[in-house]
Subunit: 261 residues, 4 copies
C-alpha cells in the first residue's frame, strides 16, 4: 500500500552488458528493500548542452537493448522520447514513456505519448509552476489516458542553478496522480560546466530525504557503478554502492510521510 517506487539506471544506455549490470544491481537493491523497480535509461540525449556530448545508441538500437534488459531483468522499463515519431516504436517496448522537462508543454508529443496507452511520466519544466502541471495532465487525459505520473526535477533559480521547491509535492499530488522526485537531475547545475552541465552529487541524499518527507510516490535516480566513467551526467549520478543506504532512509521516512496521503 503506497509503496515507494524506484525508477533508476544509467543516464544513457552504455551498451547492453554494462546497462544490464547496472540494472541488475539496482533491481537487487530495490527488491531487497521491497521497492518496486523500473529500469531507466535514455536511448538518445537529444538536448545535451553541446553538440559534442555523447548522445547514445539512438532509437532503434536503444529500444532493442531496452527490450532485452526488460526481458532479462523481468522489470518494467522507462525511457524518454523527443518527437512524435519516436513515440510509436517506443510505445511497443516501454512501460513508461517519459516526456523531458523542456518538452512538457509540447501538446503533440503529449498526445502521441498518451495515445500509446502506456503510462506517461512528465517531468515538470524548470520554467513551470507546480500548479500549472494541471494543464499538462488535462492534455493527456483529453487524449484518453489516465495513466499519468509527474516528476519534479527542480526549478530555474537564477542562472546555472536549480532549486527544488518542496511545496511542489503536495501541490502536484493534489491532482490525483503519482509524483516522483528526480533526485539526480535536481542537483544539476545547468550549463555550469561551460559546454556541459555540472552537478552536486553530494546533495542527492539530503534532497531525497527532504522530498520523501514532503511526500512522494517514487524516486528517480541515475545510478552507475562508476559515475566518473559515465558517458553523461556523471557529476550528479549516484554511485550504486550508496544506493541501498539512500533508499533505506527514504523508505523509513516514507513510512512516516505516507500516513498523510
Amino acid at each position: 500500500k503506497n509503496p515507494l517506487v524506484l525508477l533508476a539506471g544509467p543516464c544513457v544506455l552504455e551498451g547492453y552488458e554494462r546497462s544490464l549490470y547496472i540494472g541488475r544491481r539496482a533491481k537487487e537493491i530495490a527488491y531487497k528493500l521491497g521497492i518496486p523497480y523500473v529500469f531507466k535509461a535514455s536511448f538518445d540525449k537529444a538536448n545535451r548542452s553541446s553538440y559534442k556530448g555523447f548522445r547514445g545508441p539512438g532509437l532503434e538500437e536503444g529500444l532493442a537493448v531496452l527490450k532485452r534488459i526488460k526481458q532479462e531483468l523481468n522489470v518494467p522499463v522507462v525511457s524518454d522520447v523527443h518527437s512524435e515519431e519516436q513515440v510509436g516504436p517506443a510505445g511497443k517496448v516501454l512501460d513508461v514513456i517519459q516526456i523531458p522537462a523542456f518538452l512538457c508543454r509540447q501538446t503533440d508529443l503529449l498526445y502521441a505519448a498518451a495515445k500509446t496507452g502506456k503510462t506517461v511520466n512528465v517531468k515538470k519544466g524548470q520554467f513551470m509552476a507546480p500548479k500549472d502541471m494541471k494543464n499538462v495532465i488535462d492534455k493527456i487525459k483529453s487524449a484518453g489516458n489516465e495513466q499519468i505520473m509527474l516528476t519534479e526535477r527542480g526549478a530555474s533559480f537564477g542562472y546555472n542553478n536549480l532549486v527544488v521547491d518542496m511545496r511542489s509535492f503536495p501541490i502536484m499530488r493534489s491532482f490525483g496522480y503519482p509524483v516522483i522526485f528526480d533526485a539526480t537531475h535536481s542537483v544539476q547545475l545547468p550549463g555550469g560546466g561551460g559546454t556541459c552541465s555540472s552537478g552536486n552529487r553530494e546533495y542527492v541524499e539530503y534532497l531525497t530525504r527532504a522530498a520523501v518527507g514532503a511526500g512522494v510516490d517514487g524516486l528517480f535516480m541515475e545510478v552507475h557503478d562508476n559515475p566518473q566513467e559515465a558517458l553523461s551526467d556523471g557529476p550528479n549520478m549516484v554511485c550504486l554502492d550508496n544506493l541501498e543506504d539512500i533508499l533505506k532512509d527514504a523508505l523509513a521516512i516514507h513510512e512516516i510521510a505516507k500516513k498523510h496521503f
Copy 2:
C-alpha cells in the same frame, strides 16, 4: 548601417485576409521609418498552456498562407517550427526559421533548421543563461550554417513571471550574431491566467526602449489591429495603432546605442 530590424505580425495566422492586413500595416509603418521588416506569424501553436487553446491552421495550410503573404507584401517571412519533420517544408517558404524557447536545446531540431541554409533564429530558453547560448550557436555552426540570430524573451523569475536581464544583450551580441528583443513575449506571465498565459502589454514600450538602449539588432513584436480579438496571446500583443510611436523611440535610442557596436 546597423539598421534596427522588425519582425512582427500576428501571434498565430488568423486567416489570409486578416494576417495580410496586419502585415501590410506593419510593413507600411516600418518602411516609413526606414526599418527593414520581416512578417511573422505562427502556423501552429504547439505548446499552448491548455489543449483547448487555438493552435492555428497547421503546417500545410499555414505555409501556403505565409507564401502568399510573402509574395503579396514582398517581404521575408519568419515562423517557428516544432519538429524536424516541419523543417523541410518550412524551409521552402520561410526566410527565417525560428526555434521556440522551450526547444532551444533540441539538437536535432537545430541541426535540421541549420541544414536548410536559411537563417535560424533561436529564442533563448527561459531556463538558459545568456552565456550558454554560445553552445546553441556552436550546434548550428557545426551543421554548416552561420546565418544565426538569437532572441531574448525573458528568463524565469519565480513562478508565472519573467524578467528581462539587460546584461543578456551585450553577452549574446559578443558571440558575433544579431540579437533580437522579443518585446511581447517578454511581458508574458506564463500560466498567469490559469489555463492560459496572461501578460502586461503596458510594459512593452518601456522594455523596448530599455532593450534598445542596452543594444539590440532588432525587435520582435506580435501586433494586431485589435488585440482583444486575437486568437492567441492577446494580453501581451501590441496594438498596430501604437506601433509607430514605439518604433520611433526605438530608432532614436538605437542611434545612440549603436555607436557602441
Copy 3:
C-alpha cells in the same frame, strides 16, 4: 544526543496572559515528546509591510513580559532585536538573541549581540546564499562569541514568494553550528497581501518534514491557539492543536536524519 529543539510562541507578544497560555501549551507538547523548548515572541515588529501593522508592546514592557514568562514557565526565551540600543537590555532577559533576516549583515548589530555572551541566532537573509552565512559566523566569532545558531527562513524566488532550498541545511550545518528551520516564515508570501504579507499555513507540515529529512537541529514556529485572531502573521501561523502531530513526525524523521550528523 542531538535532540531536536523547538523555538515557538506567538509572532508578537499579545499580552502576558495570552502569551503565557500559548507558551505553556507549546511547552507541554514539546516536553511530552522530550523536545527542549524555547519560548519565542517579538516585543516589536520593526519591519511590518505597512506602518499600520500592529507592532507589539515595545522594548521595556515586552522584556518585562518575557521575563515573567521565562520565570513562570522555567524555559529559555528568544526574541529579536533591531538596533544596538535594544541589545543591552535584551541581553539581560533573553537566552537567545535573534537577528532578523533583513539585518543579518549589519555588522554592529551582530557585534553588539555577540558581546552579550548570549546565544546569537541569525536568520539567513532572503537575499543570501547559504554559503555566505560563513561570513556572518565569522563576524560573531570575531567578537568573541561562539554560541551561534543559524536559521533558514526561505530565499527570494521572484516577487512575493519564497522558496526553501533544502541544500542550505547541509551547507550551513557544515560550519559547525546548529541550524534551525523557521517553518512558519518560510511559507510567507512577502507583500502578498498588498499592505501586509500573506502566507500558506497549509505547507508548514510538508516543509517541516522535508527540512528535518534534510537535517536540522531545531524548528522555529510561530504558534497560536487561534491564528485567525493573531495580531501578526496569522496566515502562516501554526494552530496549537496541530503542533503535536507536526512535532511527532518531525521527531521520527529526525531519528533517521541525525544518523548522518
Copy 4:
C-alpha cells in the same frame, strides 16, 4: 524640466582630499552636461560581507568631511544611515538621507529619517517587489514628509546575482516620486568574491542606457579616479574617465524617454 540628476562619488569616504578630488571631477562633468549633481559617499559601510572589510571614518568624522565637501563644492550631499541614532546628526549635514536596501522596511529608521524634513532616498530591497515600495512611501508620508526618492539597485536572482527588472521603473514612478537607478550596485555579485562582493563594471553602461530608456529621474553611481585602489566596491565602480561618455548617452536617451513622463 525633468532633468536627469546625478548622485555620485566614492563608495566610502577615503579621506577629505581624495573624496573632494573625486567629487570635484564628478561635478565638473555633470555641470558641463547641465546635470544637477549631488555628492555621494558613505561614512560607514555597516554591512560589509566580512568583518574585515574597510568601514570608513565613522559618523562624526565622516559627517565633518561631508560638510566640508558640501561647502567646498557647493553641492548637496547624500549619505546612508543605518540606525535611528545616526539620523539626527546626519540630518544636520545631509541634504538627502539614504536608507540602505537591506533596511528599507525598518519602520523606525524610515520615520526618523522622515522626521528630519530632509529628502529621504530609499533603496528598494533586493527582496522587494517594486509595487511593495508603495508601503515604504506610505510609512514616510505618515511621518509628515513628502520629499521622497526611490532607488532601484537590483533584485535577488538566484544566489550571488542580481537582475534589474526594468518594469520597476514605470511601476515605482507611478507612485509620484522620483526614481533613481543605482547603476553600480546593480552590477554587484553579492558574496561573489567569497568574503566580499564581486561585480561586473563592464555592464554599467549597458544597464544605464537601458534604465534611462525605461525612464528614470536620476542616476546613482559610485565613481573613482582609480577603481582598483578603491577601499570598497572597486569591482563595480565606474572610472571617472568614463563618466562623461556614459552620461552623454544617458542624457540623449533621457530626452527621448521623458516625453512619456
